[in-house]
Symmetry: C2
Subunit: 415 residues, 2 copies
Amino acid sequence: MSMVRDICERTARTKYDVQLLSTEKKNAILTRAAADLVEDQDRILAANDCDVRAAKEKGMKASMVDRLRLTPDRIAQMAEGLKQVASLPDPVGRVLDAWDRPSGIHIEKVSVPLGVIGIIYESRPNVTADAFALTLKSGNVVVLKGGSDAIFSNEAITKSLQRTLREEGAPEDAVLLIDSVNREDTKELMQMKGLVDVLIPRGSKRLIQAVTENSRVPVIETGSGNCCIYVDRAADLEKSIPVILNAKTQRTGVCNAAESLIVHRDIEKDFLPLFARAMKEHSVELHADEESLPFLPDAVPATEEDYETEYLDLKMSVKTVGSVEEAIDHINRVHTGHSDCILTTDPAAAEKFLERVDSACVYVNASTRFTDGFEFGFGAEIGISTQKLHARGPMGLTELTSYKYRVTGDYAVRG
Amino acid sequence: MSMVRDICERTARTKYDVQLLSTEKKNAILTRAAADLVEDQDRILAANDCDVRAAKEKGMKASMVDRLRLTPDRIAQMAEGLKQVASLPDPVGRVLDAWDRPSGIHIEKVSVPLGVIGIIYESRPNVTADAFALTLKSGNVVVLKGGSDAIFSNEAITKSLQRTLREEGAPEDAVLLIDSVNREDTKELMQMKGLVDVLIPRGSKRLIQAVTENSRVPVIETGSGNCCIYVDRAADLEKSIPVILNAKTQRTGVCNAAESLIVHRDIEKDFLPLFARAMKEHSVELHADEESLPFLPDAVPATEEDYETEYLDLKMSVKTVGSVEEAIDHINRVHTGHSDCILTTDPAAAEKFLERVDSACVYVNASTRFTDGFEFGFGAEIGISTQKLHARGPMGLTELTSYKYRVTGDYAVRG
């Protein structure tokens, strides 16, 4: 049997035992895991050091090395994350609905774990502890396939988590790491339909695309965000600037950052100079259409491709439209269905935008940066879904559950 | 451009218009479609006649020809189905949740259509009208790929539905049929990720498997049901027989029919003779394990394969166990996660079974035949999901929706 299949089978065998853990037990495990991570800090940092040195030798970009690096502070943050998840309500076992039928049966719809969750991720080792916390709290077991750059770090963290499980008398196979650097193993994991219930890729667009295209296991697609902000002719122009700045510049490398500005023709003359000044102050490079170019002294001409690009950088595309309908059509054509915003004081335009823009999160007078499990109040986040099946938008613990129907009768038969 | 891509693009272009149809308009379309189907009956029956003749010439089994055949009665039933869906509540636009956040934003979670739904089905032409009704009522558009045996029938029904849409001033591309008999077209439909939001295969196990294995479009897996009934040692033996009979014999060719009986060792001597007599009266062939064989005079020895087989026939496998836990483990190993039942008067055994059996529908003292959208009170059914993502068990109109977050603020920015 291959290593990947063996790991998936071991995890799958554990899932029923994990489903039976009480809320108290799960919380005890998470709280202890937090302490154990800090206790095991030296070993984790030493392992991380190997990864970081190898990455530097390979010539990895400094920003990527930074993502990879662990410090005592970052380990403390990981531990804090585990404790936070312990403090959240248990998402399984909730009665979502209950009703009687004339046939004499009583039906209860109850939330249950999904089962075996596979997480494929890249160079951030903190995902290891994060994914464990969320999957365990939601009664699931997890198979991890981290990036090869973080292999020693991921191993050390997983070992610490498994020690906690063992010492708490819980099944240590509730978290297993595919500790290889072989791409074929990732491909094999995508074929584990029947053993793995769902795959969640976390990382670059390329990774996510590779998983959604090649997986036979159902996938929750996350991450890609070509977010648009439309400044309506009825927008408060002064107040709009800080919202756009927040959406564009607060953090540029994240999926909920804005990438494109769409502006109504009627206000371009008044608005675009304000916008240009603010963007210049924050060193944002503008790619503008022919009509807006004259108002944007430092902009370069935009191509069609610009409007479809998630820059993840200090860049923004600009487009002029003649109506809210035109803005909506344009957005639905170029966006990724993640987060889009209208700035307006006109309730009719706002309602039209909310109704017709086909995104997970549609905003009126609020920054797209709010698309986040913590900002939404979920207390945790496993990713942001850009698909419509199962879960859409920020996914917290609830989104890691399914449901079952419990049906009871008095020896009832169908007529 | 290929025919399949052209059809998917036309349907996709229509989806925003269909999403904007009011509940009243959708109901008007469905009600008129019911009348139009009856009006177009002669043309539909003539087309169906071509299909039936071709099928007979090909030597199709009589039971399959019967599935294919339309009659005035069956067309009336299809029309009735359309009217019934018109009478159901609209599943879109419901506020599922709403809350404020300390950051000043207000969040509403609202149900929305999925978008473009692809249905791949086999020889039952009634699915054409059925799928149209459910998808339209839930604000979706639909691409149909029916079986080649029913091609003329499906075309005639689709034309009738498109006429209704046109005469009601609604987009006729809301329902499009891939009217080819080419398997390559089905494969191409499975590649239409980005245009088609979800694929639902309806039909044989082989069809469903082919779609789930080859599709790049997300799939909702339906149908396969290896349903088990466990007779606990605390079961009321007399009362158990009618439940088993109902589950096994009311209809044998359906996914919610029982396929396997599991019996507790302590009652085998008293129960199995009762069971054997009832099964004999209904000509059910039994495949039994070594321990139960002596009590079942007409049974043949069971193989491991028997326990994993969905007979869809007057056949049933029998297995003896020593405890409810053993029964649960066995079921979780061999079943398809569709519907399983315990017969018992012991609340502890019932609770354990409800909790641990990993199926869409778990029954206590009720027939597995209740797993059905109508029996559950959904008023409609597009299929029965055996997967855990998105929807599980009977799927009605609600299961054809997703949700979006509508977020409003007063030019709110993330801190």
